[in-house]
């Protein structure tokens, strides 16, 4: 018999961004449960809406297989009384015992049979724990102090193995075969079976499949805009949110008065996206059009009331934004500088006014133009504007737009506009040289001043997003080709930056980890130089001579270490033995100054031959020291590119 299984955890609305990670955990834990208890069964699907997490599995067996264990007893030599005692202890009789020969002699054994448990019993016992073991970012209790915790209250549970309910209880809710439909479109109590579950939900206003919900949104948006010379501004994150905030999504098209288009599109889009979860709409030239798309959690807007309501809310929000814009213009950015004294950057570090002063100096120190310095001076003043207080996501952007409106030259306003970029590992770095320098100075100042007062990220704790700042520094320097030597970097910060740089080249730029390590060991504080060395070493990494050479370098390093070699003894050419030793020396001299790529090939056979034929550990201490000096010089020749002893051989024996 092979049985189907269905689990539905019915809840109140779960925050959209937590649903997918929770569902992933649930399905992994459930498959592990099936495997651990040997009841077979494979997960068929896992899906969720804001009000339900659903697992389906198939191929479970009705009960665990019986098992037989051979339990060892006393040695035969212990006699019949000992044997009878052993049998009795295991609830059996002496006639069930057998004697087997083991390496230690003859022993009594008893075959113990264990009946497999019913799968239903196992699930009934394990499911409550499994469900409550899901890790959520933040949980609550709802049945009184000390009761079970979950992301939101659990209101119903469906658990069916074949046609039977798996009985269990969580917080007073008993599992059953009854689900609930959409809050407004469906019945609140619906009897379900394996066969009709999805269809029952569908007729009760719930699209269980997130894929289908997503498709419905996309298809219907296309339908709304068909033939209108309009297109939706793609926004995958918003689409994801709307997919998981609805059980039955239906998009509608709304509009707003085109007079609001006088406001910067950045502001309008932020209002629509972050505050109202609307998609923006563009005309065929890519300019913002006076429309929006809202996604309802219902099937229709028969009287246009939903559209009307959304338009009304948006109008109020746009009016606010326009009011802020007009108010903010009454005080120029420069006049806001003293106000920054009252805006704390970080309690131990001081105000944004002080931060601004440091940034101006740093920009100058890094060779920034007058424009870049001016941009640094004004960069944080938008923190005192009503617009940024209301729309914090727009910091920097608003400053740039205001600077533009107030007649600052383009290099200045653009630098301000861009200076929070890049937002993460993805996303553009600032588009102008002044912008890159300003962003770099901002982030580097943040890192330096936080580390100075001991605000150092540890583990998952990084409240000031210093990792992101560091990543921004690395990306701007490397991708923006900025000359930067990490001025004023203390020991802790140096270690921290080293990690972030290694992470960047390894995980973002996909350099092999040993290549990254080898090149960084030869110095990393000039990132542009590091990048070019990485590229070269990565390129020769694949040539046949590279790994043997790298292995030889490792050997050289070991030899020097074992010999406690210290630089100092002058190398004497006249002590070289003719043959492999002299040849190696000649090759080193011959190719000195040539690029790495052309040196490795000719060098490799000479090195191999040297190790083959020449005894480094020569009996004569003078000769020995001279040979060590030769090897040392070889190592030195390449040490400015990479520490090749860090290279890990791929075809290890």
């Amino acid at each position: 018999m092979s049985l189907p299984f269905l689990l539905e955890i019915g809840t109140e609305e779960i925050p959209d961004w937590m649903i997918v990670p929770a569902l992933n955990q649930l399905q992994d834990m459930f498959q592990a449960l099936l495997d651990q208890h040997s009841v077979r069964g494979k997960l068929k699907s896992a899906d969720a809406t804001p009000r339900r997490l659903v697992l389906k599995a198939y191929g479970l067996i009705e009960r665990q297989p019986d098992t037989e264990d051979l339990v060892p007893g006393p040695p035969k030599s212990a006699g019949p009384n000992a044997a009878a005692g052993f049998a009795k202890k295991l609830g059996s009789t002496p006639d069930q015992l057998i004697v087997q020969t083991t390496p230690k002699g003859e022993y009594y054994f008893l075959t113990k049979r264990t009946h497999g448990q019913a799968t239903a019993a196992i699930l009934a016992r394990e499911l409550p724990n499994l469900i409550l073991k899901i890790q959520w970012p933040k949980t609550m209790y709802w049945n009184g102090k000390g009761s079970e915790r979950f992301i939101r209250p659990i209101r119903w549970l469906v658990a069916l193995l074949d046609n039977s309910v798996i009985p269990f209880e969580i917080g007073g809710v008993h599992s059953g075969d009854t689900t609930a439909g959409h809050r407004l479109l469906g019945k609140s109590s619906i009897l379900v079976t394996h066969g009709d579950f999805d269809e029952q939900l569908r007729t009760n206003g719930v699209l269980l499949s997130s894929e289908k919900r997503r498709e419905k949104i996309e298809t219907e948006i296309a339908g709304l805009l068909a033939g209108k010379a309009l297109r939706v501004k793609p926004d995958p994150d918003l689409l994801h949110t709307l997919t998981y905030i609805t059980e039955f999504p239906t998009p509608i098209l709304g509009g707003f008065d085109s007079q609001y288009l006088e406001l910067p599109s950045e502001v309008l889009i932020t209002v629509m996206r972050h505050h109202q979860k609307y998609f923006s709409v563009e005309d065929s030239k890519g300019s913002l059009a006076p429309y929006f798309i809202a996604v309802m959690n219902t099937n229709a807007d028969p009287d246009g009331l939903v559209r009307h309501g959304n338009e009304r809310v948006l109008r109020a929000r746009f009016n606010d934004a326009r009011f802020f814009w007009q108010q903010d213009q009454k005080k120029k950015l420069e006049a806001r500088l003293p106000d920054l004294k009252n805006v704390t950057f970080q309690a131990k570090v001081g105000s944004y006014f002080e931060k601004t002063q440091r940034m101006v100096h740093l920009v100058a120190e890094l060779g920034g133009s007058k424009n870049a310095q001016r941009a640094a001076l004004l960069s944080k003043t938008d923190l005192t504007t009503d617009m940024v207080k209301e729309f914090t996501d727009l910091q920097g952007i608003v400053g740039g737009l205001y600077a533009k409106a107030q007649g600052e030259p383009e290099p200045v306003w653009r630098a301000i506009y861009d200076h929070y970029k890049p937002p993460s590992m993805e996303g553009d770095i600032p588009s102008t040289a002044d912008g890159r320098l300003l962003s770099l100075a901002d982030k580097w100042d943040t890192l330096r001043s936080c580390f100075d007062v001991g605000l150092i990220p540890s583990g998952s704790r990084d409240p000031f997003a210093l990792r992101r700042a560091a990543q921004g520094v690395v990306r701007i320097v490397v991708e923006g080709q900025v000359k930067f030597d990490f001025p004023g970097m203390g020991e802790d910060l140096s270690e921290f930056m080293r990690d972030r740089i290694e992470y960047y080249f390894r995980d973002v730029r996909n350099f092999a980890y040993d290549v990254a390590r080898a090149c960084m060991a030869a110095g990393w504080q000039d990132l542009l130089d590091l990048e070019s060395r990485l590229k070269r070493v990565q390129a020769v990494r694949t040539t046949p001579d590279f790994e043997p050479i790298a292995a030889s370098f490792k050997r050289i390093k070991n030899i020097l270490r074992q010999a406690n070699y210290t630089d100092g003894a002058a190398f004497r050419e006249d002590l070289l033995e003719p043959g492999p030793e002299k040849d190696l020396h000649a090759e080193i001299n011959r190719s000195a100054g040539q690029p790495l790529e052309s040196r490795i090939g000719p060098l490799r056979p000479k090195v191999d031959l040297f190790f083959d034929k020449v005894l480094v550990n020569a009996p004569d201490p003078t000769v020995r020291r001279n040979r060590l000096a030769l090897l040392h010089s070889l190592l030195q020749e390449f040490s400015t590119i990479a520490d090749f002893s860090e290279i890990v051989s791929e075809n290890k024996e």
Binding site: M140, K145, L184, N297, T298, H308, N310, V313, R317, D320
Partner: protein, 320 residues
């Protein structure tokens, strides 16, 4: 059906919740920033006794004033506050029923429950919940209280806070709260405009900062004295509310620097926690041994990033 007036809506909500076992209270008569701060919520949610109450609470947020010139922002707005302790299993259905009771045909509208957890640092209170969105408009804050006055709550109350102005502006389809029909012959603006204008002027321009600091100190000391030497908790809590409101006034006068802010919030919080502790000890002696000290030092639960929490603004502004 004719469009309900502002007071029709209030009557309908009170009747609806009265029918579901709520005591209908009148507003608390000391200035508060939100219905949560009235003792009917702050103190009643503590302890093991079930309680159901609903009341309109005029809520003062001095910094939100706009001299009566902004159609959606008010210095003082009215919240209809409902506490259901413990929260019934069908609490959301009951809530949706209340929307039907004020004339919203849910079949023609879009309702969403969007994550919005609430925290009031000055009250040592936080909860888990949603903002309820009706056609894109936040009409209610729905919170399952978890902690209040630094105590884990014995029973989990559901707190429903309706923003009456935005709800009525929606129902009456007007763009400005001042155009809401309070009665069929009187507009909201006729009742409240002058109050908004004058108090905005006072809160932003006229309030005597030095006097406010003195008052803050006086009320703080009075609260401390009552807690230390007497057994009256309710008068002590009034002193907390006074401090909180004065703090908000100082804030709207721009008299509190960012660094000072943290310290002043901590002073109010300390008083509120003291009151909660005394209240529990009095109303529920076996629990007296329990202490909320640990709660005061325990790290805060994570909250959504945002601007510094306004100690008296747990429930969002009036509109948009």
């Amino acid at each position: 059906m004719t469009t309900p007036t502002f007071q029709d809506t209030v009557f309908a909500l009170k009747k609806y919740w009265s029918d579901r076992g709520c005591i209908i209270q009148e507003p608390y008569d000391v200035e508060v920033g939100a219905g949560t701060m009235a003792p009917e919520t702050f103190l009643r949610v503590l302890g093991p006794d079930p309680y159901r109450v609903a009341y309109v609470q005029p809520s003062r947020r001095p910094a939100d004033g706009r001299y009566g010139e902004n159609p959606n922002r008010l210095y003082k707005h009215q919240q209809l506050q409902v506490i259901l302790k413990p929260s019934p299993a069908d609490v959301i259905d009951q809530y949706l029923g209340s929307l039907k009771a004020i004339g919203i045909d849910l079949a023609k509208h879009d309702i969403k429950f969007e994550e919005d957890n609430w925290e009031a640092p000055t009250l040592g209170a936080w909860g888990i919940g949603w903002q309820v969105m009706l056609d894109g408009l936040e009409i209610t804050q729905f919170t399952y209280f978890q902690q209040c006055g630094g105590f884990d709550l014995d029973l989990v109350p559901a707190e429903l806070t309706y923003g009456l102005e935005r709800l009525c502006a929606f129902l009456q389809n007007v763009d400005s709260v001042y155009d809401i029909q309070w009665t069929s012959f009187t507009k909201y603006g006729q009742v409240r405009f002058e109050e908004e204008r004058q108090f905005s002027k006072y809160n932003f321009e006229l309030a005597d900062v030095q006097m406010l600091w003195q008052l803050f100190d006086l009320h703080e000391r009075e609260c401390q004295r009552l807690l230390a030497t007497t057994d009256v908790v309710l008068p002590a809590y009034d002193q907390v509310l006074k401090c909180s409101h004065i703090f908000n006034l100082l804030d709207s006068r721009g008299a509190i620097s960012v660094t000072e802010r943290v310290g002043v919030i901590a002073r109010v919080r300390k008083l509120a926690l003291g009151v909660a502790k005394a209240w529990i000890a009095q109303t529920n002696p076996p629990e007296a041994a329990a202490t909320n000290e640990s709660a005061t030092t325990a790290p805060h639960p994570p909250v959504k990033p945002g601007p510094p929490a306004d100690p008296t603004a747990p429930l969002g502004e009036v509109v948009a």
